[in-house]
Symmetry: C2
Subunit: 347 residues, 2 copies
C-alpha cells in the first residue's frame, strides 16, 4: 500500500544507502544468490528486517516480465443465465485458489459472461496474468482452439473434443451420464427424463451415456423427455413446470447439475408429487449441499476441489515448458435418498 504512512515502505535504494552497498547487492542478497558473501547476506537481511524492507513485488514482476497471477475465466453460459454464485463454480474456485496459494500465485477472477473470449486478448484478464484457466467451454470450442494456437498458456475444464488444441481437464461425462441413468433403470424406472442443454459439450456426452444406458436396458428413448433445462434456477423451474404440466409421463430424471436437481425437487414438491416416490432424481457434481438437502441427493460425483488442483498443476507445467497430457477424472455414483435406493428416514 503506497499510502501507508505509519509504516512507510522503504525502497531498495534506500536500504542500499543504509547498508553502504548498491541495489544490485541488495537484490542478490535478498534472493539468496550464491554470488554474494554470506556475511553480507546476513547483514543485509538483518537490516531489511530492521527497516521493515520488503521487495516491491510489482516492480520485481514488471522487471521480470511476469505477473505471478493466474486468471480464471468462468465460461458462464449467457443463454442459461448461470451465475458466478453457482456452487459448482465456487467449489472449483476454492480448489483453484487453494492450489495457487500453495504456489505463491495470485488469482485474477474474470466475472462477466463472455460473448467471445477472443475479445479478452486485449483486456487485463490476459495482460495481467501468466496464464489462464477456463472453466467450461461454453459454445466456444473453436475460439478456445484459436487462443491455444496463438500460444496463450491456458488450460480448460470441459469435455474431450475432437481436434482439440488446448490442454483439457475434465470428468468422464459419458460414463457419468451412463451410471446415473443405469442406476435409475436398475431401480425399475422406465420413463427417465434428461435435463440439460446438450449444446454444451459436457452435457452432450452425458446425454450420450444416458442413451447408451437406455439402449442396454431395452428402453426406447423418448425425445419428449429430453428437456433443455437451463442451469439458472428460476429458468430451470419454468422448464420443469412445463414438463410436469404437459402430462408427459416420467418417473425419474437425470439432471445436469446438483443445483438443477435441487430446483427440480422443489418444483416437483410444489406440484404435489414426491421425490423419490413419484419421481426419482439424480444430480451431477456432488456439491457440498447435496448431502444436506431434503431428500439428500443421489448424484454423480466430480471431485471438484481436486479438479481445481489438477487444472492449476497442469497450467504450471505448461508454463514450465513441459508438454501436458489431458486429464480425465473418473466419475462415481454417490447414492443417497433422491433416487429412491435408500429409504428416507421419514419425511
Amino acid at each position: 500500500m503506497s499510502q501507508n504512512k505509519a509504516k512507510a515502505r522503504i525502497t531498495m535504494q534506500e536500504l542500499a544507502d543504509i547498508a553502504g552497498v548498491t541495489r544490485g547487492t541488495i537484490s542478490r542478497a535478498l534472493s539468496d544468490s550464491p554470488r554474494v558473501n554470506e556475511k553480507t547476506k546476513t547483514r543485509i537481511r538483518e537490516l531489511a528486517k530492521e527497516y521493515n524492507y520488503h521487495v516491491n513485488q510489482r516492480a520485481r514482476n514488471f522487471r521480470l516480465q511476469k505477473t505471478g497471477v493466474i486468471s480464471v475465466v468462468f465460461m458462464l453460459n449467457i443463454k442459461s443465465e448461470q451465475h458466478m454464485s453457482d456452487p459448482f463454480f465456487l467449489e472449483m474456485l476454492g480448489g483453484i485458489a487453494d492450489c495457487l496459494a500453495e504456489h505463491d500465485l495470485d488469482l485474477f477472477l474474470s466475472h462477466a459472461p463472455i460473448a467471445n473470449i477472443l475479445e479478452l486478448q486485449d483486456s487485463r484478464v490476459f495482460q495481467n496474468s501468466d496464464g489462464v484457466i477456463f472453466v467450461g467451454q461454453g459454445e466456444q470450442h473453436s475460439e478456445l482452439n484459436a487462443l491455444a494456437n496463438s500460444d496463450t498458456p491456458m488450460v480448460v475444464w470441459g469435455a474431450e473434443m475432437p481436434d482439440q488444441s488446448y490442454c483439457r481437464v475434465g470428468g468422464d461425462n459419458a460414463a457419468g451420464g451412463y451410471i446415473a441413468t443405469n442406476h435409475l433403470l436398475e431401480l425399475g424406472r422406465r420413463h427417465i427424463a434428461f435435463f440439460g442443454d446438450v449444446n454444451l459439450p459436457e452435457i452432450a456426452l452425458r446425454f450420450s451415456g444416458y442413451k447408451k444406458a437406455l439402449k442396454e436396458h431395452g428402453v426406447k428413448f423418448d425425445p419428449r423427455l429430453q428437456i433443455e433445462v437451463p442451469f439458472e434456477m428460476e429458468r430451470a423451474r419454468d422448464a420443469i413446470e412445463e414438463l410436469l404440466g404437459s402430462r408427459t409421463k416420467f418417473d425419474a430424471a437425470v439432471c445436469s447439475s446438483d443445483v438443477m436437481a435441487l430446483s427440480a425437487i422443489a418444483t416437483i414438491n410444489e406440484s404435489g408429487l414426491r421425490v423419490p416416490a413419484d419421481i426419482a432424481i439424480v444430480g451431477y457434481d456432488d456439491i457440498g449441499l447435496a448431502r444436506y438437502s431434503s431428500p439428500t441427493l443421489t448424484t454423480v460425483r466430480q471431485n471438484i476441489r481436486w479438479a481445481g488442483r489438477v487444472l492449476v498443476e497442469s497450467l504450471l507445467s505448461l508454463l514450465n515448458g513441459q508438454t501436458v497430457a489431458d486429464t480425465t477424472l473418473s466419475s462415481e455414483l454417490i447414492v443417497r435418498q433422491s433416487s429412491g435406493a435408500v429409504a428416507a428416514k421419514k419425511t
Copy 2:
C-alpha cells in the same frame, strides 16, 4: 501474454516509430489528452488498431504507481472451519466482482484463513492492490483498527463496533435477530434456540436482538438454548445433534446463517422430527438456495449482492480521498415454510 507469438504484441515505441512521433504523443493521443491534435489522434488510433497495439496496462499501472486491483479478504473463521465455498461468501464475491468490473478494476482474492491480518501487510495481498475489502471481522477487530490507522485504504463488512477506526458496511444485526425471534414468538413458539458463535461481533448483535424479543414477550432466556453452532456444516450437525440428544426441550431455532439452517433441518429430519411442525427454523442471509430448499427457508434477508456493491463504492470513495460514512443495510424478514407461518404444499 508475452508468449503470444501469433499476434505478437507491439510496443509503444514501435508504434511511435511507425507513426513518426514520440512515445509521449502516442501516450497522450491514446489517453485522449486535449493537448494533442485531433488529426494526429485519429491517425494514431487508426494505426493502433491496424497494428493491434494496446497499451500495456502493467507498465502503465507500474508507472502510475497504482494497481487497478482491489483485494478481497474473507475473514474465514478458523475455529468454525468456514470455507470459501460458503454460499454467503460466494454471493458477496459475486456482488463485489460485478461492481469492480463496472469500474474496470481487477479483483485479487485472498484465500486461506488468516491467523493475523497484520501479517498480510507485507504480502502480495496488500502490495498488489490499491485497497482491501474485508468480509467479516472475525475476532480481529483491533487488528483491523490498527490497519486502518496505518492508512491502509480499506472497508469492512461486519458489525458496528465502538472505537471503530475503519469504514464499515453491514446489516442491522440487532434488528435482524429481533425480527427473526419475534416472528417465531408470534407463531406461538416459546422454546426458541439461538444457533451461532456469539464471539463474532455480528452474531453477538443478533443474539442481543433475540434476547430483546424474548423479553418483550415475557419469555425467560434459557442459556441451554444458546448453542455455539459453528458455520461449517459437519460441525454444525454435531452441535445440533448434541442438542437434540440432550432432550432439552425446544420448538424453534434462530440460526446465524442459511447454511446453518439447512444443516439444522437435515439433522432434525434425521432425528425423526419435522420442520416446521416440531421445530420451526429461521435462517439468516437469504442465500439463493433458501427459496429452493425443502422446506423453503424463512430467513432474515441481507441483500448480499447489493452489499458487495456498497463495499466497492465505499472503498472507491475512500481512494478518492473522500470521507465515507458507515452504511447499515436494513434487515427484512422473508417468510417461507420453515418457520411454519406458511403451509407447506404437502410434504
